[in-house]
């Protein structure tokens, strides 16, 4: 798999993972968020596997961040049942996850 393709796969998984995580945060009164934040963790682990397959340079990291921002925004826009406050969490959650994967 080429680097471009890996970036595509990685950002898709991360966008979905963060959509689950943000969903658990903003819908915390509805769901037992701990248990179903598990969905976010499952997707994050998968993203981690993809991330570890490549050596990322600073240009790649910046591309990952940009692509992830776009994809996550789209994911959240599509999920109209999630509270509107979901958009407030985009930047902080992206920063956190990229740090975790050492992609910051």
């Amino acid at each position: 798999m080429g680097k471009k393709q890996s970036i595509g796969e990685l950002t898709s998984l991360l966008a979905k993972s963060l959509r689950h995580k943000i969903g658990s945060i903003v819908n915390k009164n509805e769901i037992y968020s701990q248990k179903y934040a598990k969905d976010a963790e499952v997707l994050l682990k998968e993203a981690q596997k993809v991330s570890l397959k490549e050596n990322w340079n600073s240009y790649d990291k910046s591309e990952i961040k940009q692509e992830l921002e776009k994809k996550l925004t789209k994911e959240l826009e599509e999920k109209t049942f999630l509270d509107e406050s979901k958009f407030n969490h985009i930047n902080s959650e992206i920063t956190l996850v990229l740090k975790l994967l050492e992609l910051d």
Binding site: L13, H20, E30, I31, Q34, L43, E46, K79, L82
Partner: protein, 260 residues
């Protein structure tokens, strides 16, 4: 002095809890005498959900666990749920605690230290619990079998919260695009059956869910998923087809309700 003793239960007093001297011993134990009070058996209040068949060993151990948790500060009610109660093949003991405080970590370390077992702890405040037992198929399924320190019954009345169901459908929908482990497919297939049953206002018995899943997937595929084994392309496609049709059925049901 000759050892004089009696065994009595502690009763609740208006200000203090108390132990009464039996009437036939009132001339032996008199006002002003000194006595020693020793705990010989801890009270074990245990409420078991209907239809739960559980062996004596697990029953006794469960009683000890829920009673231990119920005595911790901030715990309103404790439940043991999940595969520990229904299967010999369990990885950990699932514990649900109703509490206004964030106490998972403290409870986890106390339980691990005391019982030397692996625990998975969920805590939630009472108001969220009250909502979920009416509106969440997964919570209702989880509490179909339980052991608790206090009486509990799932409410008959359910609340269909469209947003909540849509939230639960997110992961099954993701599985139509992403290939994850068989265990994730297994969990989400079960989740969809639970939602279907919930929308039909049927009981969500976890054992029945497995039975239904086994029938739909047939034995071989069912055990591949359950045992988290690698799936070939054809099997994944088959599972995705069923997942897709279940999601469609659920969404149609929600849409129909919205029209009314």
């Amino acid at each position: 002095m000759e050892t004089l003793k009696f065994i009595h239960k502690i009763s609740k007093g208006t200000r203090f809890n108390q132990i009464y001297i039996p009437i036939e011993m009132k001339t032996i134990f008199e006002v002003g005498d000194s006595v020693e009070v020793r705990l010989i058996k801890k009270k074990t209040a245990q409420y078991i959900s209907k239809n739960l068949e559980i062996g004596e060993f697990k029953k006794k151990l469960s009683a000890e666990i829920v009673n231990f948790i119920s005595q911790l500060t901030g715990v309103e009610q404790a439940f043991l749920v999940g595969s520990f109660l229904t299967s010999v093949d369990y990885k950990d003991v699932d514990v649900l605690i109703i509490s206004e405080k964030i106490i998972e970590e403290k409870v986890y370390s106390l339980l691990t230290e005391k019982f030397g077992m692996k625990f998975h702890i969920i805590t939630m405040p009472k108001n969220r619990f009250d909502f979920l037992i009416k509106a969440c198929p997964l919570t209702r399924s989880m509490l179909y079998f339980f052991i608790s320190n206090k009486k509990f019954e799932l409410p008959k009345e359910i609340v269909i919260d469209k947003k909540h169901i849509e939230f639960l459908l997110m992961m099954p929908k993701d599985l139509l695009e992403i290939k994850l482990s068989s265990k994730v497919f297994y969990d989400n297939f079960r989740r969809l059956i639970a939602i279907e049953k919930f929308l039909e206002n049927k009981e969500i018995n976890p054992l029945e869910i497995n039975k239904e899943m086994r029938e739909e997937l047939k034995e071989k595929l069912f055990s591949y998923l359950k045992n988290d084994e690698e799936l070939d392309k054809k099997s994944i496609e088959k599972i995705r087809e069923i997942i897709k049709s279940k999601i469609k059925k659920i969404e149609e049901n929600l849409w129909e309700r919205n029209k009314v």
